[in-house]
């Protein structure tokens, strides 16, 4: 393994350790237990990979398969950690959370379908590589859909949570880009490009770890207590009426567009 990859690996492990220490030292692990587990799993993965590569070698088939299996575990933990942050953020907004998880499910299903159609016929050869990219594509799309929902409803997200979510998304987006570019460059000679793939993915993860360290440097903010009363009846009463008015307004505008009103 080239020296620069080992250096990157060491940097990544160090930053992962700092992230975990910050989570434990600040007491943030109580607020984000799944994210803490994810950070711990990342470190365990590093140790596991050191063991696997030193036993079977980096280019061996069992080594690669075991590495991908360990990746599956961390990716599942990543999905759980992200859902946890979204849930914590939306705790005071019960109605929006109900909408957000549906948006998450819908976007994920849609992206899985798109990915399946886009890679149809390639499934046999692509294997882990496609699965990994498909996961990141689905993940990034779902989280961005939720962030768009936050913005639409003016939901206040604390800077720390925003950075953690942004870091996850950034990592997924760079993974998709790197995988796609390298796949197009090295369809048949992937082994030759493996060091580039490894270093670029590790580099992007290091950037994300820096973002997380900056987010966790201070303790996570105390959640705002939900002082707002249940406004269900108001919503149920007003929402259809508002929509009706808006529809009416749009009809007026449509008539204007169709030149039913003559110019003065």
């Amino acid at each position: 393994m080239p020296l620069y990859i080992l250096v990157l690996w060491a940097c990544s492990a160090l930053l992962q350790l700092i992230t975990l220490i910050l989570l434990l030292a600040n007491g943030s692990f109580r607020k984000l237990p799944f994210f803490t587990v994810y950070a711990a799993l990342n470190l365990c993965q590093v140790a596991f990979l050191v063991f696997v590569y030193s036993t079977w070698g980096i280019d061996s088939k069992p080594g690669k398969v075991l590495a991908w299996y360990s990746e599956c575990v961390t990716l599942i933990a990543q999905a759980l950690a992200t859902t946890e942050i979204l849930k914590v953020t939306l705790r005071p907004y019960q109605g929006i959370w109900g909408l957000a998880w549906r948006a998450l499910a819908f976007t994920s299903a849609l992206v899985v379908l798109i990915v399946a159609l886009a890679t149809y016929g390639d499934w046999g050869t692509a294997g882990w590589f496609e699965l990994n990219r498909g996961y990141h594509l689905t993940f990034a799309a779902a989280v961005i859909a939720c962030l768009l929902l936050f913005r639409y409803y003016s939901v206040q997200v604390s800077a720390a949570y925003k950075r953690i979510l942004g870091g996850f998304c950034l990592y997924s987006c760079t993974e998709i880009l790197i995988n796609t570019v390298l796949q197009s460059l090295a369809k048949k000679w992937f082994d030759a490009y493996q060091p580039i793939w490894q270093s670029s993915t590790m580099l992007s993860f290091i950037v994300v770890l820096f973002i997380w360290v900056s987010a966790l440097w201070k303790p996570l903010p105390i959640e705002a207590r939900q002082a707002a009363p249940p406004a269900d009846s108001i919503y149920q009463r007003l929402s259809p009426e508002i929509n009706e008015r808006l529809r009416e307004l749009n009809e007026k505008l449509l008539r204007l567009w169709k030149l039913e009103a003559r110019p003065q």
């Binding site: 907004y93 998709i176 919503y235 307004l249 749009n250």
Partner: protein, 192 residues
């Protein structure tokens, strides 16, 4: 690079751009809240100035001016009136957006949100924006469909009254909840 890969690449770039957009400028959100909090502004809606705008754009006035004044002056007045109409339409849109945002805040406070209704409102908002741009273009090109604009103003005005009532209601409930929460924090010590 084949088509599926190109599509994937494009999608990833789009996601990155969306991410950058969605995470940028937190001050904008704060500004939105400030705008919303400025509740007394709702009482001074631009729709209130519709009669004046109608008068300013009246065809009779234009005809009278054309018969008495020079051509240059008539053109100038027409240009100024068009400017007024455009500015009025922009203000009307501002009113609409403010009310639309208020509707979203009501939804965000509700414990249960109807997905169908929210989607419908989003769709209506997008349609409004598109049509507004089209009508603005018509104004710009010299059309002034004032009677319809009058109906438009009435709709905004009615919506405004309903939402103002709701805001007041929400405010009262929030105050009551805060009072209750404060009583519970005091573990009943502040009860008589």
């Amino acid at each position: 690079m084949n088509l599926p890969l190109l599509l994937l690449f494009g999608f990833a770039v789009l996601l990155m751009l969306l991410l950058a957009w969605v995470l940028r400028d937190p001050r904008e959100l704060a500004q939105a809240d400030v705008d919303f909090g400025d509740a007394e502004d709702l009482d001074r809606r631009h729709v209130a100035y519709f009669p004046q705008v109608r008068q300013a754009l009246a065809a009779d006035d234009s005809a009278f001016l054309a018969s008495r004044a020079s051509q240059a002056l008539t053109h100038r007045v027409r240009r100024e009136r068009r400017k007024i109409a455009l500015a009025y339409l922009a203000c009307l849109r501002g009113d609409f957006l403010k009310l639309w945002r208020l509707a979203r805040v009501i939804a965000s406070m509700a414990p249960q949100v109807g997905a169908a209704q929210e989607l419908e409102r989003l769709q209506l908002g997008l349609a409004f924006s598109w049509r507004y741009e089209m009508i603005r273009m018509k104004f710009f090109l010299g059309f002034a469909p004032l009677p319809e604009l009058g109906s438009l103003s009435k709709v905004v005005s009615r919506l405004s009254i309903r939402l103002e009532t709701a805001t007041k209601d929400l405010g009262e409930r929030a105050a009551l909840a805060a009072k209750l929460a404060s009583s519970m924090d005091g573990r009943g010590l502040d009860t008589p």
